[in-house]
Amino acid sequence: MHRKTPISFRPIASVLSGILIIVIFLAASGYNVGSAFSALWIGATGIQIAPISFQPYQLAQSLANATPLLFTGLSVAIGMKAGLFNIGAQGQLTFGAFATAVVGFSFNGMPAIIHICLALGAGAIAGAIWGAIPALLKSARGVHEVISTIMLNYVASDITSYMVTHSLKDRGSQAPQTAAISKNIHLHPFVPGSLLNAGIFIALSVVALSSWFISRTSWGFRIRAVGESREAAETNGVPITATLLLAMALSGAAAGLAGAVMVLGQEHRFVKGMSGSYGFDGIAVALLGGNSGLGVTLSALFFGGLASGANNMQLLTNVPDSIATVVQAVVIFFAGVRSPIFHSKRGIKKMINTRTGQVIHESPPD
């Protein structure tokens, strides 16, 4: 009960402060706030208010942007459920995309549905493997997952870059990319010209399935127990290594699926640099979403809309779209604050009282 209040209040505060930051940036750099904002709004929702009209393309782009974010947000969230900070969704996504592309152009002439499943499976497995490595390093050698996942992101990007410039390079082009995947397995856009495709349904069902897995199954229970208190879990017989490995493999698989869906629905091949920053964006998605299935969904939609809105804003008003990254940072700050200051008045008083550098006890000693 008492845990709920701050959680429902906090995302709203985060989003509002993010919007406030946009206003401050726009005003400070001398842009017309009104027109920039309306470009942002239309880019995100497709709804023009005066005169009223609806541009399905814009909304479709927002949802298309949200698709990989659903996966990577889920990926980070699953890691956090197990108490691991998976900063490696980026690398897992890259490998997932790469594996999907290889399967996609390798087995031609197979029934489409099987081929799609194979390609998705390859993406998930590649991501799972890349995600399991930090878990192994952690449980066997005590390497902190934050450092190892950051390093593995660079390694994933470098290795795939090597592949697409050497052995797996597309023969028909100068660009660093693989050959195109079989036409049979493209996920086609719902709105012509946009990138929205069936991938979003795959994403939503994977999010729902994962939520169910985490909350209802005994392995999900173990993941949560390890995440909440590794010591208590270990003392009570939860197999720590296996649980961490499972959690990171699932987390990596989700990120790998993000790459897979991007290849099947958007790029139709692996292109160097296609992962963008979707993996990192997943961190903000998970933090804002509070690591719940519904939360991740809503926050992926928010960030997807923000990205395509910022894009539209840059197109129409020349405001650099990296303002979306700043908003992400602000959201992370607000979502990550743990102090009691946002919970109660007493908390604010406490902050002021603690000039000597002590945070005062929240509960009686003993």
Partner: protein, 556 residues
């Protein structure tokens, strides 16, 4: 739990000894009263109080830890502050040391009102207060000298090792630790020596008033005596001592004044010379309704010798600066409680970790029901029927943000009959938790699905840990300090559960630092010292003295 022995199982000889000491103290005090009687009577001259608290109130969300508490500690005396666990002693101590601010009330040191100046321990130290905390505050990775210099309040930008050393040496002689190498890391010191260094640190900082928080909790009886001798000497040198404890026996022997706290309020101030233990017990517990009758232990006299657990030559070399275990062998039969006594750090943690399965042994074997289990995982052992009550219920026993039901399931999540399995069977789990809640009388709100374990009191948390341990298919129980930090009522209910489990055929091994607890509930008693199991005595052969001297390694 210490005072329980005052009227149940107090060893006669010890009682006589403390009686003699008390008599001597009385004489001493009487002469002091004669010489300084005027001063004591004329208490309005407040600068004779090293510490004076007036109407201190401090509340936490949901609890009032101190309700208008007053306390006067006369300069140069040995003052005891006693009360049950949870009576508000620690909160008061933290207020005195500047770690907590009182909501109301004022604090006076040597007659000066310092209520508004006391914002941090630093301020308290500046005013001559030194704290010897229960969990030592030495930083293990730093050397003794560095710990001392850290506590120096002023000095040049650069560290001056030579002068710090020069200042420390005479104090070390005074405390009987002149032989210590100041450059060794404090992590390598024994508990007793750490406590001395802790006192050294306070004196080094220039403390004239020493606050000691449960300093005897982890010491063997002989060491306790040595500590009191030392404190008495410091008192003669002019130090004021405020001694916080829940062990009444010690205070009757050594203190000048005793103040009692109960449920966060003053429950009496006494001159030690003129008070009986019965009066103090009544003050601590309250008369009438709060009086718990101790759970009667009908020791298991005719044991059937069905051996449940057998440990053979268990060896473990020191892992992570832990104690090495050497050739530990013992058996536990069904229907008995084997108590393991020992000073803190004698290898209890290591042995427990081996029995539970968190730590692999280096050699030797553990047999459960005649089957070797030393290579089984923690989970396997739990499923086979070995339950565990860890020492720290908040970090190791429970997942504090899990609901009661989720905590109940923890460790049994694959047990189909208990609501687990690949899918969690919520209905069955709820039913079982409801049974547990009524069996063990857990006081929870209406919503056990959501109420996190964090929001329960310590006693109720422990009931869940015990319920989980006993309810599934367990036949053997490893219990570590199962009553730590619990008040008398909760303690008695833990004992009741343990007796009940034993009588239904459980084998139980109990680890406790509280020698009274060991004496109270064990059928046999083993003593750990420095990683070795010195001896196992039957309850009827064991006396406080024999166990006490074994705890310090004295086998004769």
């Amino acid at each position: 739990m210490g005072y329980k022995s005052e009227y149940t199982t107090l060893d006669d000889r010890l009682f006589l000894r403390s009686l003699t000491i008390t008599c001597l103290e009385m004489l001493q005090l009487a002469s002091k009263c004669l010489t300084s009687g005027n001063r004591l009577l004329n208490s309005s001259v407040s600068n004779h109080f090293a510490i004076e608290l007036q109407g201190i109130t401090r509340s936490f969300p949901g609890v009032v830890a101190n309700r208008s508490v007053s306390l006067k500690v006369v300069t140069g005396t040995f003052h005891a502050l006693i009360g049950e666990n949870g009576a508000g002693k620690s909160t008061l101590l933290n207020i005195l040391f500047g770690r907590l601010k009182p909501d109301e009330g004022s604090i006076l040191f040597n007659g000066n009102d310092v209520t508004n100046e006391l914002n941090s321990p630093l301020d308290a130290i500046r005013k001559g207060i030194g704290l010897v905390s229960q969990h030592f505050s030495l930083i293990p990775a730093l050397s003794i000298l560095e710990n001392l210099m850290l506590s120096q309040l002023s000095g040049s930008i650069l560290l001056d090792k030579a002068s710090a050393r020069a200042k420390a040496l005479p104090l070390m002689e005074r405390l009987g630790i002149g032989h210590l190498n100041l450059n060794q890391k404090t992590s390598s010191l024994s508990v007793t020596i750490q406590q001395r260094v802790e006192i050294l640190k306070a004196l080094f900082q220039g403390a004239t008033t020493l606050l000691l928080d449960e300093p005897t909790a982890t010491l063997a009886p002989t060491e306790v005596e040595a500590l009191f001798q030392l404190l008495k000497e410091l008192q003669k040198d002019g130090a004021t001592i405020l001694f916080v404890t829940h062990k009444l026996r010690e205070m009757l022997s050594y203190s000048d004044h005793i103040s009692v706290l109960r449920h966060g309020e003053n429950a009496g101030d006494y001159e030690t010379a003129f008070v009986t233990s019965e009066t103090l017990i009544e003050s601590m517990m309250g008369s009438g309704k709060n009086y718990y009758k101790p759970e009667k232990n009908s020791f298991n006299t005719d044991r059937q010798q069905t051996e449940l657990l057998k440990v053979n030559n268990l060896c473990l070399s020191g892992v992570n600066a832990g104690i090495a275990l050497q050739n530990i062998s013992f058996t536990v039969s069904s229907g008995e409680i084997l108590g393991i006594a020992g000073v803190d750090g004698s290898g209890q943690k290591e042995l427990i970790r081996c029995l539970v399965g968190i730590q692999n042994l280096h050699s030797g074997s553990i047999l459960f029901d005649g089957r070797e289990i030393q290579n089984d995982s923690v989970g396997k052992r739990i499923r086979d029927g070995i339950a565990y009550i860890p020492e720290d219920r908040q970090s190791a026993g429970l997942v504090m943000d899990f609901s009661i039901a989720e905590n109940y399931l923890l460790g049994h999540e694959t047990d189909k009959s208990g609501g687990g399995g690949y899918l969690i069977n919520r209905q069955m789990l709820t039913r079982r938790v409801q049974d547990m809640i009524s069996t063990y009388d857990v006081r929870v709100g209406t919503d056990m699905e959501r109420t996190p374990a964090r929001s329960l009191s310590g006693g109720n948390q422990q009931k869940i840990v015990i319920g989980r341990a006993l309810d599934y298919n367990a036949r053997f129980l490893i219990a570590c300090q199962p009553t730590r930090g619990l008040d008398i009522g909760a303690t008695q209910s833990v004992y009741k559960s343990l007796y009940k489990a034993r009588d239904s055929g459980f084998g139980i091994i109990l680890f406790s630092l509280d020698i009274d607890e060991i004496m109270e509930i064990s059928d046999r008693i083993g003593v750990l010292f420095n990683g070795r199991l010195l001896k196992i005595l039957d309850r009827h052969e064991a006396t406080l003295d024999s166990i006490g001297s074994l705890m310090t390694g004295n086998i004769s």
